[in-house]
Symmetry: C2
Subunit: 113 residues, 2 copies
């Protein structure tokens, strides 16, 4: 993550699933897309993404298929499954709960005995 390594972890799968909510994407594209949408905050590494995608596939959250572009390059597209959609909802809820809690703590104390 580089900008503040280890600030957050585990949210990458949430973000990747979120990207796939709209359209099927291939790996390299996700890296770019995530970077773009986050205004350069998320610079996901290939070495992080591909194992992560394999994991999501094993869990049945995504399915994969290959497709060759006009350029000749073969790309491995990922598609969000029904289960993946459910997992996404749960992860979004968890994130919101977490972020709100951090917000409350940072907002400042309120009566510390």
């Amino acid at each position: 993550m580089e900008l503040e390594k280890s600030l957050v972890s585990g949210s990458m799968s949430l973000l990747v699933l979120k990207l796939l909510e709209e359209t099927d994407l291939y790996g390299y594209q996700m890296i770019d897309e995530l970077r773009r949408r986050s205004d350069d905050t998320f610079r996901l590494k290939a070495g992080t993404l591909y194992p992560l995608l394999h994991g999501l596939e094993e869990k049945g959250f995504v399915t994969a298929y290959e497709q060759t572009a006009e350029s000749g390059k073969t790309r491995r597209y990922y598609h969000l499954t029904r289960q993946g959609r459910d997992a996404l909802r749960e992860k979004e809820d968890a994130w919101n709960t977490y972020a709100r809690a951090v917000g409350r703590v940072l907002k400042g104390g309120a009566c510390l005995a």
Copy 2:
């Protein structure tokens, strides 16, 4: 963390430093306080906190001193240093940047080529 293990990591030191911004606290107290302020979202484990505190001490972010309560129990209080205060500012900024970026991604795409 239990409720969604591994959603976030590394933010614990941020939260602990934040607690110490107002008052010196001892470890056990931080666990309770964090739980209270976060409406039960953060249930920091002792096995997580104490090593974390030792690490913050090594980095010079906190100093520690012992004090025996009327009860007779000896408690190890932690005090935020100047360096710790600076580190806290940085971590708060990093968190805000990160949380905003996640928010943008979750808010939904906006034109995916």
